[in-house]
Amino acid sequence: MLTCEGLVLRQGDFSLEADVLFPDGKITALIGPSGAGKSTLLAAIAGFLQPADGKVRWQGQDLTMAAPGARTISMLFQDNNLFPHLTAAQNVGLGLRPNLKLSDAEETAVIAALANVGLDGFGTRKPSALSGGQQSRVALARLLVSDRAVVLLDEPFAALGPALKDEMLDLVKSKLGAAGKTVVMVTHDPSDARRIADFAVLVADGLVTTPVQTDVLLDNPPPALAAYLG
């Protein structure tokens, strides 16, 4: 279980409080106006931002002081999710071994993960030789080979066209869901949340609400969300 306990985040004048419990093996969407702190919350969970107070826990274990790479968390950012000078297979391999010294079994796992996201035989290509959608698939394959149980998505598909974005969201649902990952995704588009998120959380006015089922939240929006949805 991924939890934020009395988490307080401050950046200049901005502050955000979070007391949230993210359901295991489910996809939870963070919805809210821009500037509300969705990405900031994700950065704190990932370990890029030290909270002013409170704790981040995974299965009860305190992660607050752990370095980003030492947490059982992987993350996709808005851009630069692949290293352009490494091949697709190497980019995926980083999810298994940061030093890329892979055993034969691990090499096989990399090839299987690429095949799993529809990139059979693309292992030797570099990102520049892949389309935007294919690049996103490589990043997903890296999440799949990794044994990290939590996945944070900071709008990694925002630059893709609508159809391609939906395709990638569906892939997130089917593949990461099947792998039993606990997914927390930022989105500013309620239809993204409806499409794949089991639960949704509203981030607004310096507060983070408790996760409720996505349809329930969006069908009966609280005032802050109603104002955002328009």
Partner: protein, 509 residues
């Protein structure tokens, strides 16, 4: 405790690099200050050297800038075949060994050179190139291209829209646009060149000399090498350091310009064009002034290159080894410092700019002299000093690239648990290959052509190619010297090309 958003790397490489830079700059300065004979004060000859140093640097910088302004203006507003090539060539003197250029200038302006042959044929008295005007001529040869590039950059930084607006208003472009730009750019350019000329040793060694044309650096060399007067050499080194720090401080305050800057390939659409022949003549004269001496090296050197004595080839091998070592060390130190980042690193990165090779060399000599025969350490010390003096230029190329990698991929790397050598090897090195190769090439070429520290330390058995060439010139074996110069020029450019090429080859970014 805040987590770093960039992958953690080991601290010791940057600490070691910083320690070496501090030892070679402030450490050698300390040795020099400690050993200086403060009591005796400066002799009249020393005051003359100080005066000459400052006057020649002022004149060299002034002439370079004044000549550069019309040429830069011509280049800024004319489009012609080979313009880009010429602008690239204007960057080349940075890589050109000083001693090679001096030989080229002698071939044109020296006794028996083109100019004097012409004068004799017309019935005039030949002129001598040695002395103050020779020093200034060589300095202008080196710094005119630099000044042109600086000022050209200023011209091209004026937005094209301003020229259009000025044209519609029928306003005087010169007073409205060009004069304010020159007022901003020219003082900086002047100071940078002034600083370079203050610390130039090889030019004074070859073109100057004698009581009327001795720079402080040359006086240090003579005190150490001929008089073996360590106290006086140390005192002069302190003077030289004070001069450099003063000028470097002025230049640092005044300049934010980058002489290696790109983007000089633009021609701004102008509406005030007249007198194209004047512009073209200026460009032609500047190009001829820069290219004819180099062409003379090739013409004179090529026939004898197969007959070069073995000692020259041995010296060439030594030079290549020193340059290779210096480039590797310089690039490693720069990378270590760039990975560390921070204000302290920035300070360490500019410290060598205020140091001069002769001051550092004198300090190193004083530190080593009690323990070993300096000649035994000549090549090692030369390599260390060359690497340190090239560090600011290498760092300027590498540090922004490393910062870019951290900005783009630092979080991704941290979240993937990439750290230490793995992060450097897998991500940083491949992504900074181009600036790394360029910096290595620069450091190698600078070291290859260096005639400074080595002259203080080396005996016959340790001479590098520039020193061997200088000794050939001293023995008036000018054809052999020209062949050695051609070899030196070729090797310098080759080393730069190999490193730069190595950084570019199939680097997909």
């Amino acid at each position: 405790m805040a987590h770093s958003v960039i992958p953690v790397t080991a601290r010791w490489p940057s600490a070691a690099a910083a320690a070496l830079v501090l030892l070679l700059t402030l450490g050698t300065l300390g040795a020099v200050a400690w050993r200086a004979e403060w009591g005796s004060g400066l002799a009249p000859a020393d005051w003359a050297a100080i005066r000459f140093t400052i006057v020649q640097a002022l004149l060299s910088a002034g002439i370079s800038v004044v000549l550069a302004i019309p040429v830069a203006r011509a280049l800024a507003r004319r489009r012609f075949l080979g313009r880009q090539l010429l602008i690239t060539l204007l960057g080349a003197p940075f890589l050109l060994p000083v001693i090679v250029a001096v030989l080229g200038l002698l071939a044109v302006f020296g006794r028996g050179g083109i100019l004097n042959n012409g004068l004799l044929a017309l019935g005039f008295e030949p002129i001598s190139i040695f002395g103050m005007h020779g020093v200034i001529l060589a300095h202008v040869f080196f710094n005119l291209p630099l000044a042109i590039r600086f000022i050209l950059q200023g011209w091209l930084s004026i937005p094209a829209e301003r020229f259009r607006l000025a044209a519609t208003l029928n306003a005087p472009v010169g007073r409205l646009l060009e004069w304010p730009m020159l007022r901003a750019v020219v003082p900086n350019t002047f100071l940078v060149i002034f600083l370079i000329c203050l610390t130039s040793f090889a030019v004074a060694l070859t073109m100057g000399g004698g009581p009327r044309a001795t720079t402080v650096e040359l006086a240090i060399y003579q005190a150490l090498r001929f008089d073996f007067d360590l106290g006086r050499a140390a005192l002069l080194a302190c003077v030289q350091f004070a001069l450099c720090v003063g000028a470097a401080f002025l230049a640092w305050r005044a300049t934010a310009n980058d002489p290696m800057g790109a983007g000089l390939d633009r021609v701004v659409q102008r509406y005030d064009l007249g007198r194209a022949p004047v512009d073209h003549a200026l460009i032609f004269l500047a190009a001829a002034f820069l290219l004819v001496p180099l062409a003379m090296i090739i013409l004179r050197g090529l026939p004898g290159i197969a007959d070069l004595p073995d000692t020259i080839w041995a010296a060439a091998l030594r030079s290549v080894l020193v340059a290779t070592g210096s480039a590797l060390l310089c690039v490693s130190m720069s990378l270590a410092l760039a990975l560390r980042g921070g204000a302290l690193v920035a300070v360490i990165g500019v410290l060598p700019l205020a140091a001069s090779g002769l001051v550092v060399g004198t300090g190193a000599f004083l530190l080593l002299f009690p323990f070993v025969r300096p000649a035994d350490m000549a090549l090692v010390v030369t390599m260390l000093v060359n690497a340190t003096l090239a560090l600011p230029f290498a760092l300027r190329s590498i540090a922004p690239a490393v910062a870019q990698v951290n900005a783009d991929y630092g979080r991704l790397g941290a979240s993937l648990d990439l750290k230490g050598w793995t992060w450097v090897r897998l991500i940083v090195l491949p992504r900074v290959r181009r600036p790394l190769g360029f910096a290595a090439g620069l450091a190698a070429a600078l070291s290859m052509g260096d005639l400074g520290v080595i002259a203080l330390f080396a005996g016959q058995a340790e001479e590098t190619l520039p020193l061997a060439m200088y000794r050939l010139m001293g023995a008036y074996r000018m054809d052999a010297a020209a062949s050695a110069a051609l070899l030196l020029l070729g090797l310098s450019l080759l080393m730069f090309w190999i490193c730069d090429r190595g950084g570019r080859a199939d680097a997909d970014l």
